[in-house]
Symmetry: C2
Subunit: 247 residues, 2 copies
């Protein structure tokens, strides 16, 4: 049985301010929770409507009713489980290899999808501007499908970070060099921009390499790609040569 | 001033049954409506809170209040305009070139994003199984960002369609051939599967070419790609050689 205070604390975690205050975040759904349990994340407490997970200490599980779950879920259609995990300390950024930098990506679904892509393509680091949506937002955690446990996400002043970077900084612009004709390195930073405005002028100045995804069809149309699908195409192209060697 | 009956008809268009009955679909937001006005779609009626569009016949525009718009919108956060367009007759499928076939894609956002990708990569035809989400679902129309006016979408019995196809039929499977090492043709059908289950067994049998997007990193993890991002990677790779020649 959940107390009023428990419900209040858990639902407050939908807001960044309270996540920070309590040092906790919400995860829902069997797949996401299982991936987090298998990772280095530390479980704070687990609420389930039935026995779903093995190897969890008994004092960390509460069995609740579906009605109670409805009171604490952040989803429109609640699952059968909800977990609270401790927000870990931010790790330092390892600057070798390929890295994604996000300049003000606001949509939780996009950030989650980008993290899944990073996980798939073996990208270990995502550096976010402070204005980018919080990685511990429940909708982001949900959309990552567990990738959150395998990719290091750091928030920082992106201008400052890129200004000090010694690696090449790639940005996508209409007038950039055709991606398919570019020599793409195994080390570097790929900047992806805001959903509506793209890469901001201050960050654009710090991009040392301008690339473009060629567009087919009628050039009069104003169409653009969604930031997550653009990230998919760019990462695939950066990883292409190395990917050939995989089975 | 909107009548009760108008409100009833417009909101009913959120359901496929009533879209079919009235032969109309909903579009919201300036960008999407403008793209549809510029296309071959026929406007039935336009509801705006202010003067937003030029060259629309006066008898097809109603000026309404924000309160009235809230009563007819299909969005959580309504825009300042909503339009009804006539559902056109399905065009026949042109079978040359590259084509996407969707085997039971259920998420409106995914279908919309896939249509945007087709538009970007110059794919003119999308063949959907009858179980795939309706292209005139308001959430799909919204997510296409206007691409709906440039890509021909047809619903059919996919098994029947693929059974009769003379082009190669590509499907993505775990044990498929590495996409980056495959010779990909300029003509063919690329099948993308359901969000949870992938390509169904009956459709799998009709795939003549099995491909795979190589995965980097830890192979023990069970991660998969979202169907829209997988489509982005596959289309980029199919179009790569031709794309090199673009500016």
């Amino acid at each position: 049985m959940l107390s009023k205070n428990q419900i209040k604390v858990i639902t407050s975690l939908q807001q960044k301010k309270y996540r920070k205050q309590h040092g906790l975040f919400l995860a829902e759904g069997i797949k996401v929770i299982q991936e987090l349990l298998n990772s280095n994340f530390e479980l704070h407490h687990l609420y389930v409507t039935e026995a779903l997970f093995k190897n969890v200490a008994k004092d960390k599980i509460d069995y609740i009713t579906e009605q109670e779950l409805k009171k604490i879920t952040a989803l429109n259609t609640p699952n059968n489980c909800l977990a609270l995990f401790k927000i870990p300390q931010e790790r330092e950024i390892t600057t070798d290899g390929l890295m994604i930098a996000l300049d003000d990506v606001r949509d939780p679904g996009n950030l989650g999808t980008i993290l899944r892509l990073c996980d798939w393509f073996g990208i270990k680091e995502v550096v976010c501007s402070n204005e980018t949506v919080d990685i511990f937002n429940p909708k982001v955690v949900q959309a990552t499908m567990g990738s959150i446990s395998r990719v290091n996400v750091v928030y920082t002043d992106l201008r400052d970070f890129l200004g000090k970077a010694i690696q090449p900084v790639y940005g996508t612009f209409m007038d950039g060099k055709n991606l398919y004709r570019s020599d793409l390195p195994a080390q570097g930073i790929i900047v992806m921009g805001n959903e509506a405005n793209g890469i901001s002028p201050a960050i654009e100045k710090l991009c040392t390499q301008r690339i473009a995804i060629p567009r087919f069809g009628d050039l009069q149309q104003t169409e653009s790609l969604n930031v997550a699908t653009a990230t998919a195409i760019i990462l695939s192209e950066f990883r292409r040569e190395e990917g050939k060697a995989l089975s």
